[in-house]
């Protein structure tokens, strides 16, 4: 699964790890993140993310 990087702060969403602190189980693809999910570092919404190179 592909990693996505936050354009605002550089946080990398790694689907293998998910974001358990915010209720996202490991193995959740970026596309399957709920609409309410925001970057845990800077609070940016998912439209600020792009595929990691």
């Amino acid at each position: 699964m592909e990693k996505f990087v936050c354009n605002i702060c550089g946080y990398v969403y790694d689907p293998e790890k998910g974001d358990p602190d915010n209720g996202i189980a490991p193995g959740t693809a970026f596309a399957d993140l709920p609409e309410s999910w925001v970057c845990p570092d800077c609070g940016a919404t998912t439209d600020e993310f792009e595929k990691a190179e």
Binding site: I8, C9, G10, D41, C42
Partner: protein
């Protein structure tokens, strides 16, 4: 009116051309008790370069300082390390006077500066990019989210100066340009306050950046921040202080911050504080009616225990406490023991909302929230004393 201000030399080829804001006391809600400075720097090289500008009302002061060294039109480049208006407010005036060949900023900086100043023609740079100034060069390092997306720093190799933007800065206006000319306790206090109120939520990124510093291979002799004095001696001391702030290690101290309407919550706070003190742990009582939120945050950052107390008003936690909870939550304080308390007449949302906020902030509450009706009884106050002592004991165990 023509203003007369002189530039001050900070190294062989670099001049300070900033402005002192002696009497600013409210910096977007941050109590700046000692005023502040907006630092801009002029590099005299084959390509003359201005690093950052000042807050808009100080544009004339900056331009007057520049004129004391060189005709502004002889400046070739402007570097904007940070797009926030205290450093970019005077950019349009500077561009009009200078007509620069290029304005360098980060990728995010180009967007942010366009929003604030319009499109003045920006050249976006990334980590590792460098601009040749003739005898020396300026190398850029992205410092995203320290503390804005656009933040970057740059290093001028000829004079070994790191222009560190808001990093290693503080709100302090004074007679001297150099940090070593001030009392260390004043510097430490203001650096800790700046860190707590501006950078605390990005502590992990600060540690990562400090860890990466040696790898950048920069031979730094001067750190020139955008606020307050510059550093030229014992640079490791300010770097160590930053690391200490970012680690947020708990200390043997308790902050008891409260709001009060008819002194009931105040009585509870005082009893709790006495209990803490009985275990030999330092305690500080702060009444939100007279204590600024930015000072509360600073005190909280230095404490291992944070006890917050408030009355209930209109079925809500008292407004001053709501403000502080919101602020502490945003700044992501951690490694604290929390205690929620208060006095209420009937519904009692006050202490409950404080306890809920602690939970949201993942702050441990070893002792359950305590709320009294109207006025605390003697037995209540005894209990507050004992709770203070118990939490202090718990903190001492934790610090062992």
């Amino acid at each position: 009116m023509n203003k007369v201000f002189k530039a001050e030399k900070i190294s062989a080829n670099v001049w300070w051309v900033g402005a002192s804001d002696w009497n600013v006391r409210n910096f977007h809600g941050y109590l700046t008790s000692r005023g502040s400075t907006y630092n801009a720097y002029l590099i005299i090289d084959e390509k003359v370069t201005l690093v950052d500008t000042v807050k808009a009302p100080f544009a004339d002061e900056m331009l007057a300082r520049i004129r004391s060294v060189i005709d502004p039109e002889k400046i070739d480049y402007i570097i904007s390390n940070h797009a926030e208006p205290d450093h970019s407010g005077a950019l349009p005036a500077a561009v009009a006077a200078i007509k620069p060949e290029k304005i360098f900023t980060s990728v995010a900086g180009a967007k942010t500066l366009t929003a604030y100043c319009g499109d003045l023609g920006y050249t976006a740079v990334k980590t590792g990019d460098a601009v040749d100034l003739g005898q020396g060069k300026c190398t850029f390092v992205d410092t995203k989210m320290l503390h804005w997306p656009d933040s970057m720093v740059c290093y001028y190799d000829r004079d070994k100066v790191l222009f560190s933007q808001d990093a290693f800065g503080m709100h302090l206006a004074g007679s001297y340009l150099w940090a070593d000319m001030y009392d260390w306790s004043v510097l430490e206090q203001e650096v800790r306050k700046y860190f707590a109120n501006i950078l605390n939520l990005y502590s992990d990124k600060v540690i990562a950046l400090l860890d990466s510093l040696p790898g950048l291979g920069l031979d730094i002799e001067v750190i020139a921040p955008d606020h307050g004095p510059m550093w030229r001696q014992e640079l490791e001391k300010i770097i160590a202080l930053y690391r200490d702030c970012a680690q947020q290690n708990p200390r043997p101290k308790a902050l008891v911050a409260y709001a009060t309407m008819w002194n009931a919550t105040k009585c509870c706070a005082e009893a709790f504080a006495d209990g803490v003190r009985s275990k030999g742990v330092e305690v500080e009582l702060a009444d939100l009616n007279v204590c600024d939120r930015s000072d509360i945050m600073t005190k909280a950052s230095l404490s291992g225990i944070i006890a917050l107390g408030a009355p209930t008003m209109n079925n809500q936690v008292f407004p001053l406490m709501a403000d502080v909870l919101n602020y502490l939550k945003g700044l992501r304080i951690k490694n604290k023991l929390g205690f929620a308390f208060g006095s209420c007449g009937w519904s009692g949302e006050g202490a409950k909302q404080i306890a809920a906020a602690f939970e949201e902030m993942k702050i441990q509450q070893p002792c359950p929230m305590k709320q009294v009706k109207y006025m605390p009884t003697e037995a209540d106050l005894e209990e507050f004393f004992n709770t203070g002592a118990a939490l202090a004991q718990e903190l001492l165990e934790k610090l062992k």
